[in-house]
Amino acid sequence: MSATDTTATEYETVIGLEIHVQLATNTKMFCGCALSFGEPPNTRTCPVCLGLPGALPVANAEAIHYGLMMGMALGSTLAPRSIFHRKNYFYPDSPKGYQISQYDEPLCLGGQLGDVRIHRVHLEEDAAKLVHVGASGRLHASDASIVDFNRCGTPLAEIVTEPDLRDASTAAEWLRMLRATLRTLGVSDVNMEEGSLRCDANISIRPVGSTELGTKTELKNMNSFRYIERGIRAEVARQTAIVRAGGQVEQETLHFDPRTEAITSLRSKEEAHDYRYFPEPDLSPVAITPDMLERAQAALPELPLARAERFERDLGLSADSAHLLAFRTELGDFFEAALGENGSQAAEPQPLANWVANELVARLGTDADPAASNVAPGALARLVAMVGAKQVTQGGARQVLDKLVAGGGDPDAIVAAEGLGAVGGSDELAPIVEAALAANPDVADRLRGGEMKPIGVIVGHVMRETKGRADGGEITRLVREQLGL
């Protein structure tokens, strides 16, 4: 038994996530500045988001609308009013000296996604971006720090889960599910690399069978799914080592360096801020009206979980295919476009699903959106339909797909031009099979003797002769027929 396995039987990991999502509104949370997408520093600013003396915030109605949509999608209880608090702290990324956030009355309370319960979802504003000039790239030991306020005031939704996750890979998997849900809602770009989806993890361990929570640490800002998995694993290993050595885990905020796998302390419990929350007097609480709820409800699209169920129920997809296509929104959309209305494009759903999820993804890359590729959904549907009708073999179809990916086009035309059409009925194929048997008399003998294994030699021969356009099943049938088996 390896060390890791021993750990698994001794201690259970408990993980809760805090996810910050930048909302894809037109303007910032509390002012009229457009959101920034890499503009030159400090060009998307105004007196409000710069925290100039006398400037006042005004809450973005679209952000509240998105917040309500998220709450509905997650099955939360929605607050009867939108009220903001000030979270006070000094830091150069916070121009007012406080962040406007929500405190004891979050917009959404409770809820669930998959097996994980949601604790709350609240709205707040993003901080400015600090650039530390110097070798380390961190505040400490930097020569200077400069501030870019373009990001400052971007609307954020903070989603906090209950501590319902038990291991790193499940945490990452659940986060993917959340991302797909948010993407489908259209409330955020949910791009981890660009920072529109950011994740902190609260991690603790406890003896298996214990129901009490251990002391947790907070691992900050891991900016890819891979880092989340690796970060959590590293922190669990660190905690386990401490506890095994008879020590106690200290409550602290930690930073994970994906390059070195090192975990370093950002601040201890003693250094924790007293944020001095109090109701933001510059914003009147706004009642959530039935109109606002109705508008949010009407804006809800079909969510990935419901879509997966529909794929399984109505289209007969396997659970795996249904889930994959539903939670990779762009794949699901491409799949449905290829299927056509009521299956009008004549491709069978399951083979089409396989072609999208396997062949197409393999060619385009895991994260590519097929809608942005050269392959038209209708072209893929036609290709899969041709495979189904044995007009082209699997192998031939793969070659056609290569062509489609490279330069688009019509599969029928490609098949014709490249001579990839399946070698049809026995008339055409029989002489080729016959020639193959004649060329391999020893194999023919063994086949006659009832040994079927070497039939691969004959199939391979025929495939070579037909450039892969023959159907394997048909070749086998002809071999049996010609040998009287």
Binding site: L52, P53, A55, N88, P95, F278
Partner: protein
């Protein structure tokens, strides 16, 4: 016309509108007076009159306006009386200043004030104290002391101030002029450098009640940049009342006596008699929680201030004391940039909001605030207005109260409960005591400015206060 600066703002506006007065000449006359001011009422005075094209047809007809330093004015120093904002020139203008400029009142000058509006004597300004034109050894009140002294001395026709716990009414009282603290929310706060957001309200300081009505009329209006701003349900009209028939004035039984100077009390009682002669009924009214107003105020206002003033950190604007590390930069900048009273209130407010103390201080103070608002609501079921002396004393000597902050805070005893309730109130001159002005405060229900102004107008006409001695100061 001999002295055009002797006209009230309304009279001047009428003269410009009728073509009898050149607005540029008017501006120049005031500009010269403001530039020559030796009360330290101003922190900045305009270099030249603005273009007067078409101004005669605007409602305020080019009558220039003095503006308290804490209003952001584009390209013009806006330092809120603080060293930490020394030299700060905002890139934008406060909504109400913009609105008044649109209505035809150009910016004449910025006026001195207590630092971040914290004070009752104007001695907390980083730019020196303002002198009272009635007696230069005495304070003009605060925090809008510069605006009050400017109007009282006649170097400005009218001025903008802000009132958080009495900062318009008390200096108006101490300089013998009119000061209106409007209903919270009726004037946009956008561009007003904040002291206590839930209490701050801009209002006019003027020579008479009519001018107050005229200026306020063009200040009101919902502003999409201030989500706490409201549309006033009524159009503000110029007051005409000469009588108070059918009006009931309520004198709070819980808010008189102790600490009020005899001379101040005498003027107050006389004013009540005047009111009765005008047809008003004077009754006692209960405001059982008003006595706790100051205690609640000195938790809520510092709490909000401690947060509002966090932005002055030396990073983006104003003063910065460079240091080797961030924390030292913050602390030395704020140590050097803020005055003693501001620091005292930041510490008080920070403490009141601290984890574990919030409920005992901020939470309780808010509950007291609610009780006080309920007291007023109950009172206004039986009376039209609540009346008090504006301040318990006449203007006091410079330096006489600076060593005792609690003594200083008592200046706002009568004004603070009304601020906590968000109600409109006016201070008008009620005569002199020891040769110094005494103010009479009249407060009404939310949005009752038209009635408040009318009643104040009737009283003003009957009292016939002579402001000449202040004007000469």
């Amino acid at each position: 016309m001999t002295d055009i600066t002797a006209l009230t703002a309304k009279q001047a506006a009428d003269a410009v509108a009728s073509g009898d007065l050149d607005p540029t000449e008017l501006f120049e006359a005031y500009r010269a007076k403001a530039a020559a001011d030796d009360l330290n009422a101003y922190t900045w005075v305009a270099d030249a009159a603005p273009a007067a094209n078409g101004v005669a047809t605007t409602p305020l007809a080019g009558v220039p306006l003095a503006v308290k330093d804490l209003f952001a004015t584009k390209g013009v120093p806006s330092q809120a009386g603080s060293r930490i904002l020394e030299g700060y020139r905002p890139p934008y203008t406060a909504s109400v200043v913009e609105r008044l400029a649109q209505a035809g009142a150009p910016l004449l000058a910025k006026t001195n004030q207590d630092e971040f509006a914290m004070g009752s004597s104007n001695e907390n300004s980083a730019y020196g104290p303002v002198l009272n034109p009635w007696d230069r050894t005495r304070v003009p009140g605060g925090s809008s002391g510069g605006s009050a002294a400017a109007v009282a001395s006649g170097s400005a026709p009218w001025a903008l101030g802000t009132d958080t716990g009495g900062s318009i009414r008390q200096p108006a009282a101490l300089t013998g002029i009119v000061g209106l603290k409007p209903t919270y929310g009726t004037v946009s706060r956008y561009g007003m450098i904040a002291f206590a957001s839930s209490l701050d309200q801009a209002g006019p300081l003027t020579r008479d009640v009519t001018d107050a009505a005229l200026l306020y009329r063009h200040m009101v209006g919902q502003d999409h940049c201030d989500s706490t701003s409201l549309q006033h349900p009524e159009e503000i009209v110029l007051p005409t009342a000469q009588r108070l028939d059918g009006i009931t004035l309520g004198v709070p039984e819980d808010l008189t006596g102790e600490g009020v100077e005899a001379g101040v009390l005498a003027r107050f009682e006389e004013t009540l008699k005047v009111a009765e002669e005008l047809g008003a009924k004077v009754v006692r009214v209960a405001l059982p929680h008003a006595d706790y107003g100051l205690s609640a105020y000195y938790v809520i206002a510092p709490a909000e201030a401690s947060s509002n003033l966090s932005r002055f950190d030396g990073v983006r604007y104003g003063k910065r004391v460079d240091a080797d590390d961030l924390l030292t930069m913050y602390t030395t900048t704020r140590h050097d940039g803020f005055g003693a009273e501001v620091k005292r209130r930041i510490m008080l407010g920070t403490y009141a909001l601290s984890s574990g103390y919030y409920d005992a201080y901020y939470g309780r103070a808010q509950r007291v605030r609610t009780k006080i608002a309920e007291d007023f609501a109950t009172a206004f079921q039986t009376v039209d207005f609540v009346v008090t002396p504006t301040a318990p004393t006449v203007p006091f000597k410079l330096g006489s109260k600076t060593s005792d902050p609690l003594e200083m805070y008592l200046n706002d005893y009568f004004t603070v409960p009304i601020s906590l309730a968000g109600l409109p109130a006016i201070s008008i001159p009620a005569g002199l005591s020891e040769g110094l002005p005494v103010g009479f405060q009249l407060a009404g229900p939310a949005f009752s400015e038209n009635r408040v102004l009318d009643a104040a107008h009737a009283l003003e006409q009957a009292i016939g206060f002579d402001a000449t001695a202040g004007r000469a100061g």
